[in-house]
Symmetry: C2
Subunit: 349 residues, 2 copies
């Protein structure tokens, strides 16, 4: 295996100096057309490629951003909320638009938290996406930020870190009004069990506002804190039925909870949406493909991804930046409305 070829080799081949090669290849001013042509030719012939580590070392920025997916503080390999994975793809697309590479790290265990991306010159900033439930994780990244890391996040339970989110209150209220408009009165809110988080509080308050507007009774069910979102939704819904709580609709604080709720309803022979309408929140990729298709308050993942990247860039550049609310859209599918065109209204589920 032969030595890697460097800009010196190209220089020699083209009969010029190394610095001229550098200028020629990067299109700097001050190189004659003829020289540039010859350099490019030799570089191509030698299949020369600059070592990006050296390029980066000389310049200042790394051209990379780190994306950390913060999972539940459980055993390794716990399933990640699929909305986060969708968001990851959108962040990657947005980063690619800025010619940035992304480094991805899945973290959940305090023993393996890592955030020194900027300090170690591994990346220029960090986007943390994850579950509010990993408090130790959020504390860790908040501390990293105070030590100079550039951090923007999605999913933080609080506002210690600059956090992007949608208008959860408004989204929840819209969902509830939709249920009311289609004739539902006993609408139950299924919360995530973990109350100390921003998104939950806002979705809950949106639910309460909308119910109060209509003078309808508020009823909340709380998921237990263990297991996946789906299992939590499943258990919470089963509880409701076992306790003979009357209800004709469920507004779940997340799509995962809603999916679990639908399983439980089905298990007990409740027909969706005839007996119970269900609507979730997030807009996970599988929502259109559940049985019946799940209505949801969809967060615009593409916009969220680009806002995150944009804000991080501004933070890195030391500019002022703001985190606008991510747009929401009520997606009305068969789970909440028997007459939706999106699915048949006469089936049993």
């Amino acid at each position: 295996m032969t030595r890697r070829c460097t800009s010196f080799d190209v220089a020699e081949g083209a009969g010029v100096s190394q610095s001229t090669v550098s200028k020629a290849l990067r299109g700097s001013e001050g190189v004659s057309v003829e020289t540039r042509r010859r350099v490019l030719e030799v570089a191509a012939a030698l299949d020369y490629r600059p070592d990006q580590r050296a390029v980066s070392l000389r310049s200042s920025a790394t051209g990379r951003i780190a994306v950390v997916i913060l999972g539940d503080p459980k055993i390794r390999g716990a399933p990640i909320n699929s909305f986060y994975m969708d968001l990851l793809a959108h962040v990657a697309a947005a980063a690619a638009d800025h010619d940035q590479e992304i480094l991805v790290s899945f973290q959940h265990d305090p023993a393996n938290f890592f955030a020194s991306y900027c300090q170690d010159r591994i990346a220029d900033g960090i986007i943390v996406i994850g579950t509010a439930r990993n408090s130790a994780g959020w504390r860790f990244f908040a501390k990293a930020r105070s030590q100079g890391e550039n951090v923007i996040c999605w999913g933080s339970p609080d506002d210690v870190l600059p956090t992007l989110r949608c208008d959860n209150h408004a989204g929840a209220a819209t969902a509830v009004r939709h249920l009311v408009a289609t004739g539902r009165r006993r609408i139950i809110f299924i919360g995530p069990g973990w109350r100390r988080q921003h998104a939950y509080r806002d979705r809950r308050s949106g639910y309460i506002s909308a119910m109060s507007e209509q003078r309808l009774p508020v009823f909340e069910a709380q998921a237990s804190l263990t297991g996946t979102r789906e299992l939590q939704g499943y258990a919470a819904t089963l509880d409701l039925m076992n306790n003979d709580v009357p209800f004709d609709a469920i507004f779940a604080a997340s799509d995962g909870l809603a999916v679990g709720a639908m399983q439980a309803l089905n298990k007990c022979g409740r027909i969706i949406p005839e007996d119970v309408a269900v609507i979730g929140f997030d807009g996970i990729g599988s929502a259109p493909y559940t049985v019946p298709p799940l209505s949801t308050v969809e967060q615009n993942g593409a916009v969220a991804g680009s806002y995150l990247v944009e804000a991080l860039h501004r933070m890195i550049a030391g500019e002022d930046y703001q985190l606008p609310a991510v747009p929401l859209k009520l997606i009305w599918r068969a789970s909440s409305c028997a007459s939706s065109t999106n699915s048949s209204s006469i089936n049993r589920y």
Copy 2:
């Protein structure tokens, strides 16, 4: 904003030379205990952190691997098969075990293919995970490999690149035998529409073998090539019913197809599993949460992830490596068996 601190600053603070600092921090031989202690102390006080770019430039390897998710050659933002996203998480975990960072890139459009990770010293090798349908993509990465990139993949339609996969033939045969054992006779195979791929051919041949063993008639439905897997499965299944093809079970070549098939069955009032049993292939994360829960031939994603990383390391090291088959497990849920404990058998779906 003050200048970043380097090993020279530590040297000055500790009253030693820069090279001594380097040795002390990296635990090399030939530094007195007392000197090392002082260096460590000053380094900590100054919060010194080596610039990883410089470290990497001096060494040879980058300590990074690139993971490319190859999507359908369609518009940007097309949803990624969720099994690939799961696999990505497992690859990340395996890479972390080897103290490697991973660079992630979602690629689908020939205009933006990029594979020069090794040549540009961005990473030491590439793991390509993706859909067989992106032929241009697979050709691109095959060419990159011939130009010196280290590439291992999952999902390639052929064997031009070193490809990890499970024993698709055996897995399919197992699934079919399970259906036969539970009394099904008219079992339909729903293929992905794109026949020129290894996994499809093997799953199909496994189906045919198992059916032939039992002297049962083979019947294949092909999905159209457009849209998501789910939509393809939906349309193919609808076609079957519209054409009054009799069947009591569906073996879908992938979970996505199976999810779509379940939607179609439900739309037409067919009860799962009483009227039609359904089983998929892959083991996507949402399979336990469909209604009814989806039986599937589950590929061990954790093992797949570690095999991919392991094989890539051996390739990088120039060692011999082999790609063993990834283990499969038949997961028997309610969609294929009314008496499963995993769900109720008396419900209507």
